[in-house]
Amino acid sequence: MDDQQQIRVVLAKLGFDGHDRGIKIVARILRDAGMEVIYLGLRQSYKNVINAVEQEDADAVGLSMHNASHMTLAPKMVEAMAEAGLDVPVIVGGIVPDEDIEPLLEKGVAAILGPGASAEEVAQTVRDAVAVVRGEPAE
């Protein structure tokens, strides 16, 4: 991938959630898809994520959630990003029950990836979300 479109993604887990097997695999998938992954890992705060997005000029944020906190923490992250004036898509990955998907999307989460997502789906979801914000035509 040429430098002009190099995608940079911040990956984090918010708050009290110690399951980081999935996020490490996602980091590897995105690396192998040619992206630069800024890996924050466990026990991050909104502020840490926003700091990273600002300083790293990230194109997307991936949140890994395995502790059923997605309905509170994910919309709050979206809100905090908007308050900071950042037009960067927030993608949630992890265990999200079907009935929660629609409400999360309504609250501004860009996409949701479940345990069944293939590597190609994960990478393409990030590419698509970034393309929307960059104003590029979706592939």
Binding site: M1, D3, Q4, Q6, A27, R28, L30, R31, D32, A33, G34, M35, E36, V37, I38, Y39, L40, G41, N48, N51, A52, E54, Q55, E56, D57, A84, G85, L86, D87, R134, G135
Partner: protein, 327 residues
């Protein structure tokens, strides 16, 4: 407000005014070597030249990030506005990268510390080609000191010594015997040595080997280069032990080279080096264009003559070199 479509000069003003998102975007311009990068470089160069640039280098897993985190913590406590550039390797296969150094620094850093992770993007010397440009930007926007953490290096990745005012080489127990310490390469370019993981067995042996190596620099006259013998500092980065002593040694080094004229000399060399790299990149691009054919009349004929053995490659290169400015 989005920064998309905002003129780079305005983003630069926002960055010098302390907006970190603006600075983040300018760094992206420099990393991409985008058209905006030239505007940014022009604006930044005149304002830069003040920050103390410190390089932290050493093999993978030697504790560079953790040590950098400890330094950043101290600097924050001392009220300094520090910046960190943490470089990690890009995949040679896909161009992707996992930049995992920030996580060791963020929690200990003062709120106005600026941390940027960079991937090498195909460059081999332990840094990314964009590092000098990014250092200039951080300098111009008021960050001082600037700490550059290189990728985990072996023996030959010596870019950092040309980029930093003070180069710190991190060694750890188990790095090898005294012959390793005397091999040519990175160790010759250190301004300061750290023996990290000093709580582990073998740390004193490493110190002894480095000391002996430095003794020989005196015998051979190599220490004339800087006029001072590199100090060796023992640290345990995980607990922070030795970090204040390391910072003191870094400041002593800076004072020493500021006093003996080395600092000014290093900075002049650094700028010349950057001009050289730019020129070489420009020339390389022209050569590639030329050899790709078509863009310049007569080139294909010259290459055909070489293939037909009626013209030597040496003569062909001389003919073509004379025409490089036509591209």
């Amino acid at each position: 407000m989005s920064l998309r479509g905002v003129p780079p000069a305005d983003i630069f003003d926002m960055a010098t005014g302390g907006e970190r998102r603006a600075l983040g975007r300018l760094i992206t311009f420099v990393e991409r070597d985008a058209a905006e990068a030239e505007v940014v470089a022009e604006l930044a160069h005149g304002r830069a030249g003040n920050a103390h640039v410190i390089g932290i280098t050493g093999s993978p897993g030697s504790g560079k990030s953790t040590l950098t985190g400890q330094l950043v913590k101290l600097l924050g406590e001392a009220g300094k506005r520090a910046a960190v550039l943490a470089v990690d390797p890009s995949s040679p296969l896909t161009g992707g990268a996992i930049l995992g150094d920030r996580v060791r620094m963020e929690d200990v850093a003062a709120p106005d510390t600026f941390i940027r992770s960079m991937a090498t993007r195909g460059h081999q010397g332990g840094l990314s080609l964009a590092v000098p440009g990014v250092v200039r930007l951080l300098d111009a926007t008021g960050y001082d000191p600037i700490v550059i953490e290189t990728v985990g290096v072996g023996q030959v990745e010596v870019d950092i010594a040309g980029t930093a005012d003070t180069t710190v080489v991190v060694a750890t127990p188990g790095m090898g015997d005294s012959v390793q310490a005397n091999k040519a390469g990175l160790l010759e370019l250190a301004d300061l040595f750290v023996v990290n993981k000093a709580d582990r067995p073998g740390a004193k042996d490493v110190r002894r080997d480095l000391d002996l190596m430095l003794d020989l620099s005196h015998v051979s006259g190599q220490d004339q280069r800087t006029g001072m013998r590199p100090e060796i500092i023992m640290t345990t980065a995980l607990s922070g032990e030795g970090a204040p002593e390391l910072w003191d040694a870094i400041e002593r080094h800076r004072d020493a080279i500021a006093g003996n004229g080395q600092l000014a000399l290093r900075r002049i060399n650094r700028d010349v080096e950057e001009v050289r790299n730019r020129l070489l990149a420009d020339l390389e691009g022209r050569v590639e264009t030329m050899l790709a054919g078509d863009s310049l009349a007569g080139v294909t004929q010259v290459l055909d003559q070489v293939a037909a053995r009626s013209l030597s490659p040496t003569a062909a290169a001389r003919d073509l070199a004379a025409r490089i400015s036509e591209l």
